[in-house]
Symmetry: C3
Subunit: 657 residues, 3 copies
Amino acid sequence: MADRGSAKIGVCYYPEHWPEDMWADDARRMHKGGIRRVRIGEFAWSRLEPEFGRSDFGWLARAIDTLHAEDLGVILGTPTATPPKWLVDRMPDMFAIDLHGRPRGFGSRRHYCFSHAGYRRECARIVTALGAAFGQHPGVVGWQIDNEYGCHDTVRSYSESALLGFRHWLKERYGTVAALNEAWGNVFWSMEYRNFEEIDLPVGAVTETNPAHRTDFDRYSSDQVRELNRVQTDILRVLSPGRDIVHNFMTFHSDFDHYDVMEDLDVATWDSYPLGSLDVFPADPAHKAAFARTGDPDMQAFHHDLYRGAGRGRFGIMEQQPGPVNWADYNADPLPGLVRLWGLEGIAHGAELVSYFRWRQTPFAQEQFHAGLILPNNETDRAYAEVQQLARDLIKLGDLGATAPAKVAIVNSYEARWFLAIQPQGKNFSYVEQIFSIYRALRAMGLDIDIVGPEANLSGYALAVLPSMPYVPPLLAASLEGFEGQLLVMPRTGSRTASHRIPTNLAPGPLAGLLGIKVTRVESFRPHSAIRLVFEGEHCTFDRWREFVTVTEADIVARVDDGRPALTRKGNAWYLAGWPDATLLALILRRLAGEAGLALESFAPGLRTRRRGHWCFLFNYGPEVADISGIVRGELVIGEHVLPVGGAAVWREGPGN
Amino acid sequence: MADRGSAKIGVCYYPEHWPEDMWADDARRMHKGGIRRVRIGEFAWSRLEPEFGRSDFGWLARAIDTLHAEDLGVILGTPTATPPKWLVDRMPDMFAIDLHGRPRGFGSRRHYCFSHAGYRRECARIVTALGAAFGQHPGVVGWQIDNEYGCHDTVRSYSESALLGFRHWLKERYGTVAALNEAWGNVFWSMEYRNFEEIDLPVGAVTETNPAHRTDFDRYSSDQVRELNRVQTDILRVLSPGRDIVHNFMTFHSDFDHYDVMEDLDVATWDSYPLGSLDVFPADPAHKAAFARTGDPDMQAFHHDLYRGAGRGRFGIMEQQPGPVNWADYNADPLPGLVRLWGLEGIAHGAELVSYFRWRQTPFAQEQFHAGLILPNNETDRAYAEVQQLARDLIKLGDLGATAPAKVAIVNSYEARWFLAIQPQGKNFSYVEQIFSIYRALRAMGLDIDIVGPEANLSGYALAVLPSMPYVPPLLAASLEGFEGQLLVMPRTGSRTASHRIPTNLAPGPLAGLLGIKVTRVESFRPHSAIRLVFEGEHCTFDRWREFVTVTEADIVARVDDGRPALTRKGNAWYLAGWPDATLLALILRRLAGEAGLALESFAPGLRTRRRGHWCFLFNYGPEVADISGIVRGELVIGEHVLPVGGAAVWREGPGN
Amino acid sequence: MADRGSAKIGVCYYPEHWPEDMWADDARRMHKGGIRRVRIGEFAWSRLEPEFGRSDFGWLARAIDTLHAEDLGVILGTPTATPPKWLVDRMPDMFAIDLHGRPRGFGSRRHYCFSHAGYRRECARIVTALGAAFGQHPGVVGWQIDNEYGCHDTVRSYSESALLGFRHWLKERYGTVAALNEAWGNVFWSMEYRNFEEIDLPVGAVTETNPAHRTDFDRYSSDQVRELNRVQTDILRVLSPGRDIVHNFMTFHSDFDHYDVMEDLDVATWDSYPLGSLDVFPADPAHKAAFARTGDPDMQAFHHDLYRGAGRGRFGIMEQQPGPVNWADYNADPLPGLVRLWGLEGIAHGAELVSYFRWRQTPFAQEQFHAGLILPNNETDRAYAEVQQLARDLIKLGDLGATAPAKVAIVNSYEARWFLAIQPQGKNFSYVEQIFSIYRALRAMGLDIDIVGPEANLSGYALAVLPSMPYVPPLLAASLEGFEGQLLVMPRTGSRTASHRIPTNLAPGPLAGLLGIKVTRVESFRPHSAIRLVFEGEHCTFDRWREFVTVTEADIVARVDDGRPALTRKGNAWYLAGWPDATLLALILRRLAGEAGLALESFAPGLRTRRRGHWCFLFNYGPEVADISGIVRGELVIGEHVLPVGGAAVWREGPGN
Ligand SMILES: [Zn+2]
Ligand SMILES: [Zn+2]
Ligand SMILES: [Zn+2]
């Protein structure tokens, strides 16, 4: 996408939506706007293959040439998110089937079942054709596979294809049905199977199905995403050597294991819609109102750090919101400056691409209310100027440098999300809210953070946090045993085995030795119920969740008001026995960061910082103008000491920092 | 229904529900109560045709004769809303199909698909038989076609019949599939079709379908209502010459174009349930509590004016609530006086019929909790006396006179409702709430109002308001260009083409010249979010919605706090760039009414007025007793100067008014 | 289950879930814990019949022997709530069908349709085999039929079997279709049938179906529960003479007539989950928070009294919550002491069995979060000690004595619940909330209460309350006529006939003579709407509901603020014309109890009492420690004068009480 230490500005473009005689001018204005990357083609299947047996790649070749002529590197999308009508009519069982047994049919997008073998063959066919045609085109610098896997709840399908695939997958995993019965505990309600052909998908039962059944189906479904993706990458590796292959992931999506999919990709790109994403997030209304025009101060950064981890250091923004969007319940206008701020913040976190969605607002079909850089009448819209400013920023910064490993790591797990969604036990127990609150608390102290997967190497981190992770795989358990930094383990960790059972030694299962505790009971709380504790003189609460911990070898650092342990510590391994309110979480993390020897700051609510190379970035999400003279330690190359809401400042970090 | 300048009191009656020996006494008591019109027969199909091939019209003939003998004119309903079991069993594919693919079967009412050709033939058959039998009966003064089109969400059906009909309709509209693909913008997500047979109904897709697809399906569905209606009117025009043909429309119903259906009808009657309708309206709980026993002070009048417009001056109330109903979430008892007040208010607005639903409360089946004029044990219920009082009122008033054209018009559009429901862009953007708030604000100033359709002639009005109307048809655009009164255009008007696309010149599209503005961006707000402005010294807000307007030739009359235009004006054409709160809306309308030279009043919250002929009516919806001496300009023929809650006053307007 | 005057402690145990070499130790620890009854086997079908044609009862024989060896009497469950996969695959139409036409399939439990003849045969087959094998085993002291009828909304099924069964049932009830049409009032919307084969299930119609149709389907569905139950009891009566046969009923379940089912059973046992049941009850959040760790102070007692009535004096707790459960939205931990308190309270109300669910917390499958007496790692959990304390309590109390008939009766009706659910008329009209509020008000006065069915003999009661009972059967009407105590009749009583019609004499129908009133109109209120009245100097309200009563022979004891009667009285028969708030209800009941000559108390909010034999029990549900010296009239054998939250006290009643 971009050379080491640099970043490119991009845009998403649909030449097939516009008369061909507009293309050259579009390309010229893109270049003038500072844009150097253009993603195209990802929804164009009906134009590439207008009917069965007939293809037309000529227009795409001309579009690529036109862009290339203006020095715009093309990221070519495979169109597999939108198979055309003639194709689906030839294999109507390719649709995903919903929870109620209904096909999820034609008429929008993502109308396919990941398990369908015929559709995989069609994907291979069109990708082979595209790879052969454009794989070595000098204007093609990368490929995007499909579009937003999982969008519109499309990972899990209850189709016949999925059923047959699932049975096969189970046979591979368990060998014998007796082993499966034992692993799942099917004796519980006479759910025992006599052979794999008796096993149904975990849907349509009278009440809750076996959580082990659901866990394996979640794993199976995630694997199908990886496989459909790999069908395409395997082809493009051969036909388009040297190009980066990417996918555009989403905000807070949990239905498949992004680390697995990334094994076959080069760069983790994601689609950043700060205002829309905040509008649909389960935040409280006052928070939504305060940041309705800026976005949450941590949500974008969280995903930058998440996808930088998933991309083994390489990530980008494939779609960046340029104005109001069309899909949230309410769609506000960003404050002036935010379109540039969001891009610059991505770069601060290491992005090698900031690509805006979309070039020109569509005057037809589903997304007419989605702003672009250009109005439907071809005048420039407000965002265009902000993109130009970002381009000037990039020139000022020159070599951006590499993103150094952070001192703090949060361990993210998709499998943990599935476990907790299957049996939340308290209706408001949300993995995403928990990990995001941990991220927010750490970042508010001015820390740079890495978000890593469960297989990551943790050595070198001064502080690591393990959000609730019911099943802790052996490799991670071993890694944590050897970890030398301060480690905070959140409740429910180690409370289940790989087969979604309670471990024979109870929670925290494989971490019992490390943490020196045993959990004998848990309880969950209604909203506005909670249990109190005093920590470092502050009145705090556990809400949502708390656990009854028996200490075997650990020290009790804090107790709940009823006297039971709240926070324990065995050496560097800390265990928190409940869901902390924001105050408590901040105090605990500050305490551990202190023990880890980290230097901490206390920023105003909307100020956030991040370092990249020798640059230090500061962003003001508001709600107030900020005097940042006390924070800036160096000469500002971007911004002033009085930072408006929506403003950004950058300075070169002195040697003393 | 009634002679010019007069009005009749009616009642809905079900002779088939009661022993024949009760009929004569019922008719006698009706007449004694002042009733002169009786609607019968609209649910009686299973008694008219007890089984396939056998009909029994004798009882109905005797019922009509019995009523006629007491000088009661019969409005005979066609029974097509309730086809009997034997009929549906002969064509089980006649059921409408719901959004999830399930038939909407037998067991209640309205169990048919408007598109089903076989059912249309059955309707023609029974209507022909009824027309032949009773069309020239001297006791039959009118016909009601079917009952409450669209009730229980029955306009749109996703059946095979609808699918085939829709494809045919599209072929008629677009000629070629290429033209349709272009109009809809199907290239957007590879949704292009190769022929009309590939097109599905806009349902069952993974996410939102193409808004153009939905728009055309809404139009198609509306057309089917008109066609089924016309099948029946065509027959009755021949078989029952000289009788009025009507339909009973509903409260705030939007799913079909009532103006289209009215082209084949004589009088627009509607079913007025003030308490039930307020209970299910999205009003705030305090408002609902304040008017729980009276109904909203404007809701009935709104529909009177709406249906008077739809009926080209002729309208009536076919069903008037006489006590608690059975179908709202909560069903309050009307305050004493309201049963008469609602009737008199209808007459003030020009109704030629006020027909109460129902004569005797049913002791069986679905509507047992619905009050009538007579209790199930045949004693008179409270409403009977209020109906008698209304009859005395009518005698006092004598010749009612004609309803003069108002000075103020609101342009109502069903198509606009569909557009806005398909892509609201803000979850709370409701056409019905908007048009009703405009109506309420104007009426609170003491103005008489006409609600007219988009094809109405606007000349002669001093003030016109055009609620949000995404697609403005050429005829209306031309009419507005030539309009000489003050014109207020609400946001989103002209923002879409007939094919649900953004116009090439952006919004307000065809009104760009008239208004002298261009809209480049829109945003929507969560509840309790808003943007502030000061107008005429008052602190106001835009909530729900606001737009970014570029002024090309207009003056900026008011600005939002961020400096952008809020209200613009080019000569007599005003544009409002947001959703006004009640204060702002009232101030703006008062300003325009002032410019239009209209005399305004400021009534207490529950007082409402209306003129008919030389009579001036005043109604007190409460919550307080009102001293109306300062308002009454003439001698009271009905009511006193102290008007209780639920009271009505009428005086002859002096020559000075 | 237990000898007269005594009670047994039991536990629910799943030997099939654990290695056989653990059984003996389990049995030993049970005995040591004071346990003498063990329920087993109710979900074990797949182990009893691992495949078609092969059975394996050996393990169960060994399990029973092992328990018997430790003096543990076995209650053997029939496994019909969990038919195994091979069985359902042989008759896939045995699944219940939901409201939307979808099978409620395999994968959890209760996956059968009560109407399916083939499944009834399978039940008979397995029960015959079990009865033959274990019916005369000396260790088997009782049988539990199936498990929790109706759990997961499984009473009503919309299957083909149900359809055919329903038609047959209707033919039996009505004889001719003409009689049915007349009874249901099918003429209303042309819903008349020509033969029974035309009748569908009351589902899938466009809007509300005929309430008479729904009423009969509710009756039919209830009858199928009774019949499936009787299939099993008929067999076990023969094969296992002298053993008690029971079923485990649920909390606030309404979908079948429990009195009908009890006709074939010996003891009414029920499953008591105080914390989970409060969490899902429609109580206000503050109440839920106050009692989150104790349970509602009246909910358990209500069900004890309900099921003692249903069991003709014999009842027990088959499943008693021992810690947090897994199925509520939020699952709190009981305060220490409650596990014992709940058991002791059951005994105070006459329980002959208190059986805890479950012995050992399951480490696999659906209920892993449900606590037991033993942890999954085989250590004892907290509840074990409380069970031991309960065993010591029982020893202290010795002969418990019989439960004397109370002076106060509440008449409970399942049919009334169906009527009111079919046409609530006000969305918040809830039979269960009403009867429970009556129970709570009476119990807060220190009264012992019997909850009796509509066929119960009321003679001997000093006070009886009849909650809203739309249809009053002739036998009950006669019984009330002859009743000599004070009788309070709640609104809506007598407002419908058996065929769900309004009686020809209006409400209260058959009670018109007894009460001396006639109801001519009803209305329902939104939350926070209400109508006021003053009663005994207190400001009170009717909310949810009020009626317009005409007095024919009664006295008006109280009037609503608008002057209409609120409370009437004809001799000992009182009628309440609205839904009383808690204050009003308490005042009225205190007034009637006074007239009935009952001695009343006024306890602190969480104190509750109950007498059994010569013992008087007092329980403190909190929220405060209570000094009970003023209440205790005798020497305490259990507890102290200062009663902690969760504490219980028992003393021998002196002769003066
Ligand atoms: Zn260049
Ligand atoms: Zn007359
Ligand atoms: Zn013993």
